[in-house]
Structures are given as C-alpha cells and as structure tokens.
C-alpha cells in the first residue's frame, strides 16, 4: 500500500467534514463534522509517521486527541447553554450576534 491511498482517504474524509460544517444547520451535527475533520488530519499524521518510521507524528496525534477531548467537553457545554437560552440548536435561528 502506497502512502497516497491513505492521504487520499484522509482528503475525502476531510472534505465530507467540510460539507457537513458548511451545509448543516444542526449545531450538534456540525460539531460531529468537525470531529470528522480532526480525525482525517490525524489519519494523515499517522500515515506519514508510519511511512517514515518516526514516532513524533504519533505523539502529535496523541496531543491532538487530548485537545479534541477538551474541545468536545467545552463545545458541548456551550451547545447546552445555547439550547437552554434559545430552545433550539438550529444555527440559522441563533442570530443574536449577527450583523
């Protein structure tokens, strides 16, 4: 297996995540699409790390996992607060700060 296929898979997954972020209106689904994109980038890092036999990529993915975990905790807390104030997670209806 050449490295190209892993990178292509990662690019496809990232693009699907971008589609989700740009077109969906449910905040929770947008958040899940962000997780998809994070995972696509992680796949790139692991692929490169594995092909060069270098451990630093794996370490970077480990830290990125930690950041993703804290990001999920804080982001979901924000979504809960938004839902409590607006009774919706539809981002087209949350426009308090929109000009």
């Amino acid at each position: 297996m050449a490295l190209n296929w892993y990178l292509a898979l990662s690019a496809v997954l990232f693009s699907i995540g971008v589609i989700g972020v740009l077109t969906r209106k449910n905040a929770v689904v947008i958040f899940m699409s962000v997780e998809l994109m994070l995972n696509a980038v992680n796949l790139t890092l692991v692929a490169f790390s594995s092909h060069f036999g270098d451990i630093n990529g794996i370490i970077l993915v480990f830290f990125s996992l930690c950041v993703a975990a804290s990001e999920a905790a804080v982001g979901l807390a924000i979504i809960i607060t938004i839902f409590r104030n607006n009774l919706t997670v539809d981002i087209s209806k949350i426009n308090l700060l929109r000009w």
Binding site: A8, S15, T44, V46, D54, F63, A73
Partner: protein, 170 residues
C-alpha cells in the same frame, strides 16, 4: 491482505462519514460517527500504530461519543424534516468550496509522495505502547503535564459554562 483490508475500511469509513453528514436523525449520525471512528482505528492498526488504535477506541469511540449521545439525550432533539435549509446560493457555494479544498489537498499531497515506501520496517517497534510511553514521559514530559492542565481546565470550564446559574459576588 493489507490492501483488501484497507479497501474495506476505506469504503466503510467514507460511507459512514457520508451517513453522518446526510442523516436526518442526530442519534443515527452519532452512531455512524462511532462506526467511522472504529474503522479509522482499524486503519491505524494497518499502519502498525497499535497504541493509537487502542486510544482511538477508548477516547474517541468511547468517551467522546458517549458525551455526544448524552448531550443529544439531554437536548431531546427531534428529527429534522429538511437536512439543508440554507439558501440555494449558499448551498452551491459551499459545495464549490469543498471541491476547491479537496483539489488543494490532493494537489499538495499527491505530488510529493509518489516514491515513498509502504509502512516502514522500523514501525514494528515505533507504534507500540512501550515506545510511545518511553518518548512521551522523557522527551515530551512537559507537554504531557501541560495537557493534564488543559484537560482539567476544560472540565472545569465545561462545568462552569453548563451550570444553570452563575452566581456573581457583589
């Protein structure tokens, strides 16, 4: 064998990623995301990064997705009638943007990596828990500690944000 497994995992990963995005029910989206993360763990195993495969299952498919499902349960979301309700121009623009992003990624990664070998032979020793732990607790000790602080801060911050009422002292 590795090729067939990769094709299997890749097809499942892309299909479930599409199912996450194009799904009316939020709960099904979350469950498809779990499947996606599990196939990614399989691909990590193909790349001989055993430690990351285990961490992927434990942290992502386990902890983070349980958090997602809990939040969906708390919010009591209904299924949406229309997945995409943005205006048509915005919709077309977003797909164009995605095409540009995809082309850009393929252009930047496709040109430079033709000649690389497959999985490096030294990966057998690099991807294990022992090797990762060895580097993590010597060379990267301070970043690990900072990560611990980050996680604590995130949990405290999440609690503070999701609290029902923040009482201010006067």
């Amino acid at each position: 064998m590795v090729t067939y497994l990769f094709i299997l995992f890749a097809v499942i990963a892309i299909a479930t990623a599409l199912a996450v995005v194009f799904n009316k029910s939020t709960v099904s989206s979350a469950l498809f995301l779990v499947l996606n993360l599990l196939t990614l763990a399989g691909i990590y195993l193909l790349l001989q990064a055993q430690f990351l495969a285990i961490i992927q299952v434990l942290v992502y498919a386990g902890a983070i997705m349980v958090l997602f499902l809990f939040v969906i349960m708390l919010l009591n979301l209904q299924d949406e009638e229309k997945i995409f309700s943005r205006s048509r121009v915005q919709f077309i623009l977003s797909f164009l943007l995605v095409a540009v992003v995809f082309a850009q990624i393929l252009y930047s990664v496709g040109s430079a990596t033709n000649m690389l070998p497959a999985v490096s032979s030294s990966m057998k020793t690099v991807g294990t828990v022992e090797a990762v732990g060895n580097v993590l607790f010597t060379q990267y000790l301070i970043p690990v500690e900072v990560t611990a602080i980050l996680l604590t801060a995130a949990v405290v911050g999440a609690l503070l944000i999701a609290q029902r009422k923040i009482q201010l002292k006067k």
